[in-house]
Symmetry: C2
Subunit: 429 residues, 2 copies
Amino acid sequence: MKILFKNVHLPEEYGFGMGSVNVLVNDKIIAYVGKDLPSGEADRIIEGQGNLLAPAFYNAHCHSAMTLFRGYGDDLALREWLDTKILPAEELLNDTRVYYGSVMAIAEMIKNGVVSFSDMYFFLDSTARAVGECGVKANISRSVVSFDPDLDVLTDSRIKEGLDAYNKWHNEFDGRLRVDMSVHAEYSNVEKCCRYVGELAKDLGTGIQLHLSETKSEHEKCIAERGMTPAEFFESTGVFDVPVTAAHCVWVSDSDIKILADKGVSVAHNPVSNLKLASGIMPYNKMRDAGINIALGTDGVASNNKLSVLREMQYAALIHKGNTYSACATRASDMIKCATENGARAQGREKCGRVEVGYNADLILVNMNSVNNIPVFSYDSALTYSACESDILITMCDGRILYEYGEYTSIDIEKITAEAKDVFAHYFD
Amino acid sequence: MKILFKNVHLPEEYGFGMGSVNVLVNDKIIAYVGKDLPSGEADRIIEGQGNLLAPAFYNAHCHSAMTLFRGYGDDLALREWLDTKILPAEELLNDTRVYYGSVMAIAEMIKNGVVSFSDMYFFLDSTARAVGECGVKANISRSVVSFDPDLDVLTDSRIKEGLDAYNKWHNEFDGRLRVDMSVHAEYSNVEKCCRYVGELAKDLGTGIQLHLSETKSEHEKCIAERGMTPAEFFESTGVFDVPVTAAHCVWVSDSDIKILADKGVSVAHNPVSNLKLASGIMPYNKMRDAGINIALGTDGVASNNKLSVLREMQYAALIHKGNTYSACATRASDMIKCATENGARAQGREKCGRVEVGYNADLILVNMNSVNNIPVFSYDSALTYSACESDILITMCDGRILYEYGEYTSIDIEKITAEAKDVFAHYFD
């Protein structure tokens, strides 16, 4: 199947300025990008009408099934929110509930131009099934928590669930689905467990997802109790010897930043969640200047309450200007990179996240003719500062259109929504 | 014309919890709110389908025609942005250009659920015409700048333009349009001018719009040069003796906050613009606790780059949590008030901004069935944290539907957009 996007604009880094180009997708791959029309016939021509064709978004940190808990316990302090709301609610999770939470999360992400997400949660079979059906990509992981210093790592059920998921699902659905290992965080794991999961990931040749220095108290408690920062702790346990995506990193020190840069750790920056849970503001500029691969994540819906990487991009662009008192502290073009290419790199997906020949066709067509985007002086600015989620007209993953002018192609949205509403309505019964 | 909204939900403060209600609009006024159906026939029944009926948004600070400059010079430091981009561009303004800038701004606002805005700019006839045609409300004002200590206030053309606009347009369009006076800011005006504009507004019985302590440097320079803060300066000139909307207030001191509270000054909080221009973060919590009427504004599109009070509400809710390290620092319900009722109060519009019998029917119907809002545990949370602009299904101003399921009723959007694009494209010719 050859699909031609005719007369579109690209983000500025591709060098076409305000000029329009044509992009040909052949099966899963971008086969042509240029001012002239490509040779040969296309099976379908999509008239770009001067809209923006951008790489689709990658969501670098999510707990997709937490869509079940959207708006459940907002405006509460973190500890109260966790102890009285989220943790008791999570006791009631099961396969069906996680399936509907995941499908609804994926439906929202597709609509918002997200084609791939990194996920830490439980009941991985359900999320895997949802990823397979909906046609997106994901790096899923079983979030491991351990408090027993004498933990028998070989028989621990949480570690086993992650390994089972790996054996069952890794590289399924034509490679769309991957399975990473995960240690939830420093404060929720014993050293022995971290060491073992690190070795396991190395043996399997897969990555690790974890939370790092999200709150001041967790960061300081680690220093007080272990005599080192969470980043130093993970480095000492060998966890950073495999490709890692570290979520949050709000309270990392300058020397932590050096560790992350040296070890090639990708950072999942979650600006909205960090504000909503009052964790603080990540030192984006220092991390960028250190050369760290910074991607963007939504975190779970319970602490966001949306799954929009576009929104994270807009928040990141703005809060780091305001927080550093420098209007040039962030650039629209950098934010687009964080939301796309850097996310693909964090997931270890090669040839993804760019509008370039030979790359996977993960693309979004963004309306530049809506009243909120007129006039356009810069396509990067328009996407970063003025676009709405509803400006995303088409979402394409691996060359397959998953969403087109309000319609889903891989999800029976009315049926799924009705079923999900029923499951959500009886959640606390 | 009687319009019945059947089976809708209201924000939580109205006391119906998660239950559904019926709301009857009779001509311009809300005639009934209750669980039962109202007596009598309605001319039109709008099936609420469990969606949220909220007060429409009021935009408390805008320069609407700056829509002309959307994305023109982003990511630049304030001084460079002003001197090399905005000020030279504003030299090229004329009636036609301001008209199209204003109409496109209003079109965007209507789509985003905004029915009224406070505006400081030039070429007021053009903005007034746009307000009249589009069916919205506005408090417009001619932004006065003066640097000559010997200014002849009686003949000054800027003051005269404001006065002419008042005489020509105040209370036109059935009261939808009002004309305020305006002094641009402390740093851009001599004392004599501020005194005179204050007296003028008092004589006319109208309000004043101004910028206050937007940046650290302007605030500190005022103290150094005048021996008082900008708030103290305006108080000393009598400007605060009339109803004032003070935009920004990022750098106000604790004693300034007391002045604003004592004088009943309304504050237009512009979180996105303050972040984008790196001005800083307004001390929202202190001002709220002092009892100040805090409304929300977008500022001009050039420093935003959107006209969405919904977005401002979401930013305000989140940044003040993150900035104070307290997840309960802001409440969704407070943000809804800032975005609606407080804005109406800032504009001096009585019986506006609430879903209550006897109030003007300024309403929005918000989709609670979109994937990004499911499930709903709290309608206040859904509107504040997860709703998208595209969830606004209906925008009603004074009982007249201006926007309905993607269609404008007062604007020929295709024609206007084509004309505006042409004007925008030749702006720098």
